[in-house]
């Protein structure tokens, strides 16, 4: 029998046809492949969070193979000599085993922890980008809400994970968490007893946190992330204004192949940075902290950075206790305000900001073009005000370390934080507002009068003036409208004075080689300035 020749080249096509006949994926798949994404560095910040979440899942699964979520008391007998013979919980002992008796376990633990910090940091940085550019406006309010929830759910994921080793530091944090629950008026003691199954610390909290940390919270995170990404797909990404870009289109690259390949490469880079940090920077050395014992504490006890703002607000809170003289008397402890009320307000503000702003501006249209921060001074001001508030709280969360290392009085640090928290945010708002206005004005001036050429001309009457290169073809003033995008302010951005030297990120200016004859502004804008570009920072 004659062997049929096997056509290798036809295999993918045939396979694709076979799949499509059954599942009908060709059209949706093509649509997916043909999705245009605008390209700008700031659009990659969210990906850092996404990719570190993937690393968290990978390393986290590894850790669950060795971690034992139990508070039963054991006597440690592992490799780490300085703790041998010490009674401790099984959870802590297994964490030590991961660090010292599982080959490569320590780097996994450290990568997991660094990835968690990176996840939260990238969420915040991404959130700032979205906020300052107005990307949260209609139709993307839902995605903003989901993003904010991701921060708060990530916060819970971080705190539960931080508590799992049951070491001296995290146990102190857990103790504070119990005190926070206890401080809630009316139901506080019932909430605490329900969570800890009786008095702190009980014997069950670690197993409960474990199931929350490895199942409930990641499940929620995955669900939220999926919806978040799904919405980015269906709503299509926002873009910066620019030539050819309108509210009704997306200018950029199709998702495949180039964009997706870059994403894949970026994932590897994020993973690589986490691996480097996990190997080079020691994080959370639980073996130094010892097992959690209610009477053990360390100077400079802090939570991870994303919880530190709560620690800071607690430290700054004055000792205002409210007593309610009914019956035997009831108390609202000072702890309640900075740890329950403040985060509650922050959650509410962060969730509903898009609606508040829309209402304030009476702007209910859809926006797909981003705004430069300078063009919306009040929002930028509010954002900087919020960041200032957050940074002061976070710094106050570490004020004892700062006091110790910079030799400042601890009490002075507390007072500086209290006063700074009241004074600096409004000041930051005002300063930002003025800077925004100044930048706006400068843009308008350049549009009206042209770019400063650095050429000084002497007028017949003896005055000196600087020659400006108008941006428009005519010689008129104020002919160009501001388009919401970078206004060229240097001559070589107009293509004058020779080509720019290619730098790593930005073109580097080349000094003028030959003097240009005065009185004759030398340039015509180069024609390619008019072309549609892919949205990188240089116009």
């Amino acid at each position: 029998m004659k062997r049929r020749k096997f056509d290798v080249a036809a295999v993918p096509g045939n396979a694709a046809r076979a799949v499509d006949d059954r599942f009908g994926v060709a059209t949706p798949l093509r649509r997916l492949l043909n999705k245009v994404f605008p390209d700008h560095w700031s659009f990659l910040l969210g990906e850092i969070a996404l990719f570190s979440f993937v690393v968290l899942l990978l390393t986290g699964v590894f850790l669950t193979f060795f971690y034992e979520p139990a508070m039963t008391e054991v006597i440690y007998n592992g490799s780490y000599a300085p703790l041998r013979g010490t009674p401790m919980s099984a959870a802590y002992a297994s964490t030590l085993d991961i660090s010292f008796d599982v080959r490569g376990g320590l780097i996994m633990r450290q990568m997991h922890h660094w990835a968690a910090l990176l996840f939260m940091a990238a969420i915040v940085v991404h959130m700032l980008r979205v906020f300052f550019t107005g990307a949260f406006r209609k139709p993307r309010e839902t995605n903003w809400i989901i993003g904010s929830l991701l921060f708060w759910v990530g916060f819970l994921a971080g705190f539960t994970g931080y508590s799992l080793p049951d070491d001296g530091l995290s146990g102190t944090g857990l103790r504070i968490a119990s005190a926070i629950m206890l401080s809630i008026p009316v139901i506080g003691s019932w909430v605490t007893a329900a969570v800890f199954n009786g008095e702190f610390p009980g014997t069950i909290i670690i197993s409960r946190f474990f199931i929350a940390h490895v199942l409930l919270i990641p499940g929620l995170l995955i669900a939220l992330i999926s919806v978040h990404l799904g919405l980015v797909f269906t709503q299509k990404h926002t873009q910066w204004p620019g030539p050819g870009r309108t509210n009704g289109n997306v200018v950029g690259e199709r998702m495949f192949p180039r964009y997706a390949i870059k994403q894949g490469g970026f994932f590897m880079v994020v993973f690589g940075v986490i691996a480097l940090m996990g190997g080079l920077f020691q994080i959370n050395p639980v073996w130094l902290f010892g097992p959690y014992e209610a009477w053990v504490v360390s100077a400079a006890s802090q939570p991870d950075w994303y919880v530190m703002f709560l620690d800071g607000s607690t430290r700054l809170m004055p000792d205002w206790e409210i007593t309610i003289p009914i019956g035997e008397g009831y108390v609202i402890p000072p702890l309640f305000w900075p740890t329950v009320v403040l985060p509650g307000i922050l959650v509410a503000i962060s969730l509903f900001y898009p609606f508040m702003e829309a209402r304030h501006l009476k702007d209910y249209r859809s926006h797909n073009l981003l705004q430069r921060p300078r063009d919306v001074p009040f929002r930028t001001g509010l954002g900087v005000m919020a960041v200032t508030f957050y940074v002061i709280l976070t710094l106050s969360g570490a004020n004892d370390v700062i006091a110790d290392k910079f030799q400042i009085s601890l009490n002075a640090m507390t007072w500086a934080g209290r006063i700074g928290l009241l004074l600096l945010p409004p000041l930051a708002y005002y300063v930002t507002y003025r800077i925004c206005l100044g930048l706006q004005q400068h843009d308008r001036e350049v549009l009206a009068h042209g770019v400063e050429t650095g050429i000084i001309r002497r007028l017949p009457d003896g005055r000196f003036v600087e020659v400006h290169q108008p941006l428009s073809a005519g010689n008129g003033h104020g002919e160009l409208d501001y388009a919401g995008w970078v206004v060229p302010k240097k001559m070589n951005r107009l293509g004058a004075l020779g080509p720019a030297i290619r730098g790593f990120f930005y073109p580097i200016e080349r000094p003028v080689e030959a003097p240009v004859s005065p009185g004759h502004p030398p340039v015509e804008p180069r024609p390619e300035r008019e072309e549609v570009t892919s949205g990188e920072t240089r116009p």
Binding site: E47, V269, G279, F281, P285
Partner: protein, 279 residues
């Protein structure tokens, strides 16, 4: 080790002064020697409890102590006064603080103080080892007090596991889990333990310098002190950091938070600038 002999002599002299002690000592010399040894190990706990009794003594100074007095009269007298009785508002009385206190304060450069401040800080040491021993002998003979046992290595047979447990109960609240120190109220602080020698740690526990509580030998026995010193020297200092080349100062989450922004976020933002850039 003449200075140690001097100290022993000083202690013996004090013991002889106590009613009852000589009689027993004459009958059973061996027992007395053992008692002296035990008391030496037990340091000045007793004298701290009863400094008044010791302050009454005024025996003639040994030669080392006389040298110490000469040094004292040059460098210390302006704050601590004649015969180390203290000057109100400038320096406390040194009667009964013991050689341990001198060894800690002068041996770590804290004394003589450069200026009056919230707390004396560790500085380059002013005196030589011999001079410090002479000063210590002088203060010891003035009014007794706790004494650090001989030898530079006081943790030779310390058990780091026991030491670690004691460290976490008694020391970590101020000096931190990592031994890096921490802030106290109003500008005071617990110093880092990294530059401290065995003898200085021992002396600090015995004498309770500045705001540090006293950990006498009845509370933490000499064996336990050796354990704690072993934990500090071997585990906290020598053991290194298995988790990486950089330990971020072991300040815990505060520097870790700084690192994730300065290293992680900065590196990745640069990467995204490059990825999205045109060049």
């Amino acid at each position: 080790m003449t200075s140690d002999n001097d100290r022993r002599r000083g202690l013996l002299a004090r013991l002889r002064g106590r009613p009852g002690a000589p009689g027993r000592g004459r009958r059973r010399l061996g027992a007395a020697v053992r008692l002296v040894a035990a008391l030496m190990l037990a340091g000045g706990a007793y004298t701290v409890l009863a400094p008044g009794a010791a302050a009454q003594e005024n025996p003639p100074l040994s030669s080392a102590a006389a040298d110490g007095k000469a040094l004292f009269d040059v460098s210390c007298v302006s704050c601590h006064g004649r015969n180390a009785q203290g000057v109100e508002g400038r320096g406390p009385s040194l009667i009964g603080v013991g050689a341990a206190s001198v060894e800690f304060q002068v041996g770590s450069g804290r004394m003589p103080m450069a200026r009056q401040e919230a707390q004396a800080a560790r500085k380059p040491v002013v005196f030589t080892r011999d001079e410090i021993d002479q000063l210590a002998a002088y203060v010891q003979e003035l009014g007794g007090g706790p004494v650090v046992p001989a030898g530079d290595n006081l943790h030779a047979d310390g058990n780091v596991a026991i030491g670690g447990e004691l460290y976490r109960i008694n020391c970590s609240q101020c000096h931190a889990f990592s031994g890096g120190g921490g802030a106290l109220s109003s500008g005071k602080y617990a110093p880092s333990l990294r530059p401290a020698t065995d003898r200085q740690i021992y002396a600090a526990m015995l004498s309770g310098p500045q705001n540090m509580p006293v950990f006498g030998d009845n509370q933490i026995t000499p064996e336990q002190k050796a354990d704690i010193i072993a934990y500090i020297q071997q585990t906290l200092k020598d053991d290194g950091d298995p988790g990486g080349l950089f330990n971020l100062g072991r300040y815990g989450p505060s520097t870790e938070g700084v690192a994730i922004f300065l290293v992680g976020i900065v590196a990745l933002v640069f990467a995204s600038l490059w990825i999205a850039g045109k060049s």
